[in-house]
């Protein structure tokens, strides 16, 4: 399907194909709903509860983004979008492969492919800044991914007695793995996939890449792609838990989580660029995810629930930032003011997105952050509790200062270079995402609830 994109010259047809593929993908994903959780196609490919959860995330986000792109690409007509849409579709295929792979080597291949396919997407505008962002992203991620490959090989060496790295075989025989090589492999795998996820010491590409990528790409990267990287980290945790290495790995997860929260809190406070701020916010939420896993118990459920809500909320707020970019032609925060007076729907979505992402009460993220807090108190890790609350409140303050002024302040006169009013395709995806957020956070339907239950049982059962 994606190959056809490169052959078709007309931009209009390519958009139609994009839309068709994404809705086809969504339909295929939906058709998986009534099926059982564990499906094995062959020894390499298969689903379990977690991969179904993440596949749903990817599919819904991609569908929404493809609707959004209809008007967005019309706006940026300066160059042909052949490479852009081709890479986008290949990215969808690679992300689907990530969720389906049941072999650690295949998982690595798919994740490396997502890195390579998203680099041209970041470089869409070809400005000096976007080239710099793409180069940093490519180099840092490739380096991290190479370390991940090394970790995969160490895992295979530790599994030399069972002679495979199929996930099922490793999990069943985890106790016979050689412990010294396994520990080494876990460290390398965590550094590798943690780089891809954007955890704190390895996060440096994230604000640059998110800041310079076109907003729809940012929405996909912060929602779907981090989901894929989280899946890989979750697999590593699964292997550790099966090998009874909880005591070794949990402090690492907690440390990475707290570090990510701290760094993003520091940088969000003084931020002048809206999209870079979103990049740091993504670092923060990835930190919360691994913190939840590191605490174990109810933290794992909370972390999965958090991932779902974070993905849709990030999608929403990145698409809002795309609208703002089209309206104001700038990402500087001081030049964007009083959105709600002129563009009511974008403005309202901006405020709702802000409330969701900082964990304001009625929404899902509030609930999952509370659950993680509860888990930290229950396990008596009071230092973690202290830092967690401190950093979250600093981040809330930093966000509020920026977003409320953007949304509610007095609009400046004579600052309009962009489009004059919101059109259907700009608003429609936002409303879909609001609906999805409503169902994933406030009024959670039974099937989603049980899917998250099953996915967290993959770790909790230990």
């Amino acid at each position: 399907m994606a190959a056809a994109i490169f052959l078709i010259p007309q931009d209009r047809f390519k958009k139609i194909i994009l839309l068709l593929t994404s809705s086809g993908h969504l339909l295929a994903t939906v058709s998986l709903w009534p099926m059982p959780r564990d499906i094995q196609f062959n020894s390499f490919l298969g689903f379990d509860a977690l991969s179904q959860l993440i596949l749903n995330l990817i599919s819904i986000l991609f569908f929404v983004v493809s609707i959004y792109l209809i008007s967005y690409l019309k706006e940026k007509r300066r160059r042909s979008n052949r490479i852009f849409i081709g890479c986008l579709l290949c990215l969808l295929a690679a992300m689907t492969l990530v969720t389906m792979s049941r072999h650690m080597g295949l998982l690595w291949i798919a994740i490396a492919a997502t890195t390579l396919l998203s680099a041209p997407l970041i470089n869409y505008y070809r400005t000096p800044q976007s080239i710099e962002a793409a180069w940093k992203y490519l180099l840092i991620s490739s380096l991290g991914i190479a370390l991940g490959l090394l970790g995969t090989l160490f895992l295979a060496i530790s599994a030399i007695s069972i002679k495979t790295v199929f996930l099922g075989d490793i999990l069943n025989n985890a106790t016979v793995l050689s412990p010294s090589w396994l520990k080494l492999s876990i460290i390398f795998l965590l550094v590798g996939y943690g780089t891809k996820m954007g955890l704190a010491p390895m996060h440096t590409w994230k604000p640059d890449a998110y800041g310079e990528a076109p907003s729809p790409v940012g929405a996909l990267m912060s929602g779907a792609l981090t989901g894929c990287a989280f899946l890989a980290v979750f697999r590593v945790a699964q292997i550790c838990f099966h090998a009874h290495l909880q005591r070794f790995v949990m402090p690492i997860f907690i440390l990475l989580g707290i570090l990510s929260l701290g760094i993003s809190a520091v940088f969000i406070l003084g931020q002048k660029d809206f999209k870079r701020m979103l990049g740091y916010s993504s670092v923060e939420h990835m930190g919360i995810l691994v913190l939840g896993i590191g605490l174990g118990g109810g933290g794992i459920w909370a972390s999965l629930f958090h991932m779902v809500n974070n993905a849709f909320a990030k999608g929403l707020i990145f698409l809002v930032s795309g609208n703002l970019n089209q309206i104001f032609r700038t990402k500087r925060i001081e030049n964007i003011q009083g959105v709600i007076h002129r563009f009511p729907i974008t403005g309202i979505c901006l405020i709702i997105g802000f409330l969701v992402i900082t964990g304001f009460p009625p929404f899902g993220i509030f609930y999952s952050e509370l659950l993680i807090l509860k888990e930290a108190i229950m396990t008596r890790q009071y230092m973690v509790v202290l830092f967690y609350l401190l950093f979250l409140s600093v981040i809330f303050f930093g966000y509020a200062r920026i977003v409320l002024n953007m949304a509610l302040g007095q609009p400046k006169e004579g600052h309009h270079h962009g489009i004059k009013e919101e059109n259907f395709f700009m608003v429609m995806p936002l409303i879909i995402l609001l609906l999805v957020l409503f169902f994933s956070g406030i009024f959670v339907p039974g099937p989603l609830y049980s899917l998250i239950d099953d996915a967290s049982a993959l770790l909790e059962g230990m």
């Binding site: 072999h103 080597g105 295949l106 690595w108 291949i109 490396a112 492919a113 390579l116 680099a119 041209p120 470089n123 070809r126 400005t127 000096p128 800044q129 080239i131 710099e132 962002a133 793409a134 180069w135 940093k136 490519l138 180099l139 490739s142 380096l143 190479a146 490959l149 090394l150 090989l153 160490f154 295979a156 060496i157 530790s158 030399i160 007695s161 002679k163 495979t164 790295v165 050689s178 010294s180 090589w181 080494l184 604000p207 640059d208 800041g211 310079e212 940088f267 003084g270 931020q271 870079r276």
Partner: protein, 209 residues
């Protein structure tokens, strides 16, 4: 015996690359390293699987990737590294130290299975570290790419320990991924050159907080 000789021949080009500033020579040395590397699967486990691996390595790493890198330096017309972050002498000394560290680490790790050669793991570690050093100490985008590739060569050596256990399909996928990585990097180097007038990553300093 032949295996040990080949391993030494793999580490040597790595060390020479650390002390060299001519990009053309560096690429040739990388091709030489990959050529020696491709014979190792045949030396360890002769067979069809090893033969396919060797042929794929020769095609990709000895011909295609160096050809692409040569195309890139001709295209952006640069010949040598100008100002490395760490001087050549110091890089060489650091490289020597890292090789020592590699031997130290590998003496601590024990293989659960029988050993093929007790030089294999230390040399794989050394090459990974040399590649990493090259990647962080140079500014030219092309040298950074070569550093990445040398790291991958080291990882490939590790993979040879497991040659009988991993499916051929997975190995081919890994090689393909690396090839595409170099392709994408090559294209972006070209963009850097068009935009800044030189392919040096020193220019990339617009984005910071």
């Amino acid at each position: 015996m032949w295996l040990e000789l080949a391993l030494v021949l793999i580490i040597l080009p790595g060390i020479i690359i650390l002390g060299n500033n001519r990009l053309g020579t560096i690429i040739q040395l990388f091709a030489l390293q990959s050529l020696v590397l491709s014979t190792i699967p045949l030396l360890i486990h002769p067979g069809i699987h090893a033969f396919v691996m060797a042929v794929a390595t020769v095609i990709l790493k000895v011909f295609l990737m160096p050809a692409m890198l040569f195309w890139a330096i001709r295209h952006v017309s640069i010949r040598r590294e100008v100002q490395p972050l760490i001087g050549y002498g110091k890089t060489l000394i650091l490289g020597g130290l890292l090789i020592g560290v590699a031997f130290l680490i590998s003496s601590k790790l024990d293989l659960p299975d029988k050993e093929i050669s007790n030089l294999l793991i230390p040399s794989a570690f050394s090459i990974v570290m040399i590649g990493f050093l090259l990647l962080v100490s140079r500014f030219k985008a092309i040298t950074q790419v070569i550093g990445y590739l040398i790291m991958e060569n080291g990882i490939f050596l590790f993979a040879l320990l497991l040659l009988e256990k991993t499916p051929l399909l997975v190995e081919m996928g890994i090689l393909l991924d690396i090839f595409v990585a170099v392709l994408v990097m090559g294209i972006i180097i070209n963009h850097i050159n068009q935009e800044f007038g030189s392919a040096s990553t020193i220019n990339l300093k617009n984005l910071k907080d």
